[in-house]
Amino acid sequence: MKKTPREYLDAAARTHVSDNLNLYPRIAAQLEKVTFTGTLRARPVLMAFSILCALTLVTGVAYAVGRSIGYFPGVGIVEQSDGIYILAEPVSVNQAGIMVTVNRLVADSMRTYVAYRVDGIPPVDSGFPICTDSPGLALPDGSLLNFTGGGGGGMESYGGAAMSFESSLTFAPLPSQTRKVIFISPCQMPVIELLLVPAPINMVTPATEIEVTYEPVSSNYISSITPTDDLQTEISTPEPHLSSLPIRPTNVPNGSGLYLDKVIEMENSYVLMGNFTDAGDLPGPVVMGQSYDSIYKPKIENALGETVSFRVRQDISPVTVWTWFYSWAYEIPKPVTGPLKITLDQVNIHQSDTFQFQFDTGPYPGSGEQWELNLPFKLGGYDYVIDQVQMLEKGYLLKWHSGIDIPERTSFSLTIHDLSPSMTEASGGMEDRRPNNRIKYARNFLTDEPVPTGILTLELTLYQTVPLPGPWTITWTPPTP
């Protein structure tokens, strides 16, 4: 018998949370204790400190810890306090004509970075020729280091010859005094033992993390956040991602927009690292893009209103595109006539628009039966016409059309209102742009349960990407020399 989604989830949670749970004794005991709030009220100094912390967040000011950092080419910002260890030279292993090479390993107290390459991958007629396993890193005692980021990489192929693959990965930092790690090659290739040596001093360019003070100016989209009562408010603001490791979410006091997380001063430049966060207060979710090339680039102006050239430093803040934010790093050459204004004029957002209509199948409709509706409607500002509904063995097929002015890259979903989530949505759709002066669409709604009949409320939703003007601005003042 088919289970409901709720039953699956309940069974999954039951393996960790038993039916015999009894929280009440703990709760009763806790109620007798002095609360944290009570402690605050009794200790003015602690309360003042808490308020100071809150103000620090609200004004967008953060203070750097005094770490010894530097720039390591190809790796980014490294921390030098516990030393930096590298692979003295590339190490390879060969098996059946396939060669795996670890080109680089850089270990500091923040991470372990590994770059590797696979050559001699036999070509195949179609599809992806390499197994999709990721390599791992292990310590001499066999314990695995946690993977923290990276991956991907490009495949090279020339005229049917053997192919190559190159990628880099980041793992958790090595325990101190560890000078040997094991590279676990992907796809049953032999493991590679990597011996580490201290990095020469001249490999690292000195850098200083300086105090971050900036003024954010967000667009007027914040007001749509609806305050609720105390028990339900804490969820309302998602957190931006701080580019520093470890990832440490904070509040987004200014709603969606640009946030500056860190500034690194190098000999001839400043590197500003931050993020753009979608705090859920815009008219739709922001399209974050899939790579550094497709994310938004701001304009930067100095105090004289002149455009300042900058370089995207992907090597310092790697591509990090999440559902709700992306991070960035921009290098600005010295001298800088501050304050600098960083402005993002526009982002793209996903938007949806829904059209509901009622439709009566009658009491005993049969599979294959059709109803001509000729029902005009608007979605996303465009005109459409519902042409026909057809009953299928396991659901319904809806056909409609539009004029040819509809932009491409729109999509639709079809649901029947008020049905349980176990009713599945359409499994197929069609868009035909060939007919004269009209685009024809079709989408079906299928279900494993008895097909609903009678008066139905059908819901057709359009999804599209539209530009949303900002601007979103932050103003950063460089330190006085």
Partner: protein, 183 residues
């Protein structure tokens, strides 16, 4: 004693009113929190704190309205906050579509072994989601909230919820067709 009477007792500073509510809802609440946090101890702490706050704020609870949705929303929101505060559960290979594939699997589950296996896979898939995605799944499929209730609860636009679910379903279709072509 029903929920309404229990809340009335709490309002009169009678702790046994709280005891009734705890005994009635604790398992479901901790499981909901666990599905978001993937940490049993943390889930228990969250539910414990939620009940304590409810008890202290019992004067503000409207006993004429259903208590369970109010409690569960508070628990999921608190769980989401805790996970975000920890910042430890962000995943690079989050795949809500895979989870939806499992949850809306067409196949009937014939044996308890298969059911247990599927539940295990669901838990694994959940662990690969971001906290917000997890909260959306728990609210929609475990607490069986409507999209409108979820949007109100997460204080995001209904279109955003719709978009999240749509994106997952689109991916689901791709996955299913890919699996079929492999077979």
């Amino acid at each position: 004693m029903d929920d309404r009477a229990a809340i009335q007792r709490m309002k009169n500073s009678k702790i046994n009113g709280l005891e009734v509510l705890v005994n009635h809802y604790q398992v479901k609440a901790v499981r909901a929190a666990f599905l978001v946090t993937h940490d049993e101890s943390l889930a228990e702490d969250i539910v414990q704190e939620t009940f304590i706050r409810l008890y202290r704020r019992s004067q503000h609870i409207d006993e004429t309205r259903p208590f369970e949705p109010y409690l569960m929303r508070s628990v999921v929101n608190a769980a989401l906050n805790e996970v975000r505060r920890d910042g430890k559960s962000v995943s690079l290979d989050a795949d809500p579509a895979m989870l939806e594939t499992l949850l809306t699997s067409d196949a009937s589950v014939e044996t308890q072994v298969e059911f247990a296996q599927l539940s295990h896979e669901i838990l694994n898939a959940l662990s690969k989601l971001t906290p917000r995605q997890r909260a959306v799944i728990v609210q929609r499929y475990y607490l069986e909230m409507s999209e409108l209730e979820m949007a109100k609860d997460l204080t995001i636009a209904p279109g955003t919820i719709k978009w999240l679910l749509h994106a997952a379903r689109t991916r689901l279709r791709d996955l299913l067709s890919s699996q079929r072509s492999d077979q």
